[in-house]
């Protein structure tokens, strides 16, 4: 039995049909993800339009420099992920592993910076709750920070899961589970990672940069 026939599950006619099915499957999952983040984005749009001054004032307490740096880190991780998928398509095992490891490292750097930002917010009493304290600001600024933690927190959870997915892919690649004919898991993991990147592409300007002018 050749490696190609062994990697095509019996319900599929051929490898291409199997690949198309897995791509469609992850996209349907990503649509449910769009709707989950969509609820938070809807809350954000509604309350930002209701309390524009309070949101703009609260946004100034986020560190735009760190946010921009983290955006570059995440875009770099998308590049290394795309390079890993490319390597898997041409059957380069070490290229795949290298791309995935770089992506994991960049993902961890992002989470580290995020953790530092969260710690700063705790020190500055900007975490919603009984200790929230923003002198001279309207009360709705607390709502901004509730949305900030909910949106970036849900995003960070996705990053942690993504790092776990990529680590699994590294192990699979090292065990020679992929070749030029079969690398669907790498492509699907890549689509998930890029999606999480896209969520941050929207979060960065909406949370960090509003009311800067």
């Amino acid at each position: 039995m050749s490696s190609r026939t062994s990697t095509v599950a019996h319900q599929f006619d051929d490898a291409e049909q199997q690949r198309n099915a897995s791509t469609l499957g992850i996209w349907v999952f990503l649509v449910t993800e769009i709707m989950m983040f969509g609820g938070l984005f809807t809350a954000y749009v509604l309350y930002r339009s209701s309390y524009p001054e309070a949101f703009a004032a609260a946004s100034h307490h986020l560190n735009a420099t760190l946010g921009a740096a983290n955006t570059i880190v995440l875009l770099s991780s998308s590049l290394s992920m795309a390079l890993a998928v490319r390597a898997s398509q041409v059957g380069s095992r070490w290229g795949t592993v290298a791309g995935l490891v770089v992506t994991i490292v960049l993902g961890c750097i992002f989470l580290g910076v995020k953790g530092y930002e969260y710690a700063s917010k705790f020190e500055e009493n900007l975490v919603p709750g009984p200790f929230f304290d923003l002198p001279g600001a309207e009360p709705q600024s607390e709502l901004f920070f509730s949305l900030y933690f909910a949106m970036t927190g849900l995003h960070a959870v996705h990053m942690v899961i993504g790092v776990g997915v990529l680590a699994t892919l590294v192990v699979m690649a090292l065990r020679r589970r992929f070749d030029a004919d079969y690398h669907n898991p790498v492509e699907i993991g890549g689509l998930y990672w890029h999606f999480v990147d896209i969520v941050w592409i929207y979060l960065f300007p909406l949370l960090y940069l509003l009311g800067r002018h």
């Binding site: 051929d14 490898a15 291409e16 690949r19 198309n20 791509t23 469609l24 996209w27 349907v28 990503l30 649509v31 769009i34 709707m35 969509g38 609820g39 984005f41 809807t42 749009v45 509604l46 339009s49 209701s50 735009a64 921009a68 955006t71 570059i72 875009l75 770099s76 998308s78 590049l79 992920m81 795309a82 390079l83 998928v85 490319r86 398509q89 041409v90 030029a180 004919d181 492509e187 890549g190 689509l191 890029h194 999606f195 990147d197 896209i198 592409i201 929207y202 960065f204 300007p205 909406l206 940069l209 509003l210 800067r212 002018h213």
Partner: protein, 99 residues
């Protein structure tokens, strides 16, 4: 099997375009465009998202059904935001209690 492969050059060029658009987002956020700051920020983010989807996520090689699935997500997101805002913004139109 016809697997499409994107060249490294294209991937790097798209990456640098994305970094450039990030710089543009930051720069434009400090310009006073009146009520246009938010729409411009969302427009740039959408352009970046489309580049990621079409190039990095290889949607340009995608099946029509995959396009359809992804577009349905965008459609329902716009419905969710659009109908919520239509409700919120039109509540004051009628001067009646319990609006």
């Amino acid at each position: 099997m016809a697997s499409h492969v994107t060249s490294r050059l294209v991937l790097f060029v798209i990456f640098f375009v994305l970094v450039g658009l990030t710089a543009l987002t930051v720069w434009v956020a400090y310009q006073d465009l009146g009520s246009w700051n938010a729409p411009v920020a969302v427009a740039i983010a959408t352009l970046k998202a489309m580049l990621v989807i079409v190039i990095f996520m290889e949607m340009r090689f995608g099946q029509p059904l995959t396009w359809f699935a992804g577009a349905s997500g965008v459609l329902f997101l716009l419905l969710l935001i659009g109908m919520t805002m239509a409700d919120a913004m039109s509540r004051g139109w009628l001067g009646v209690p319990g609006k």
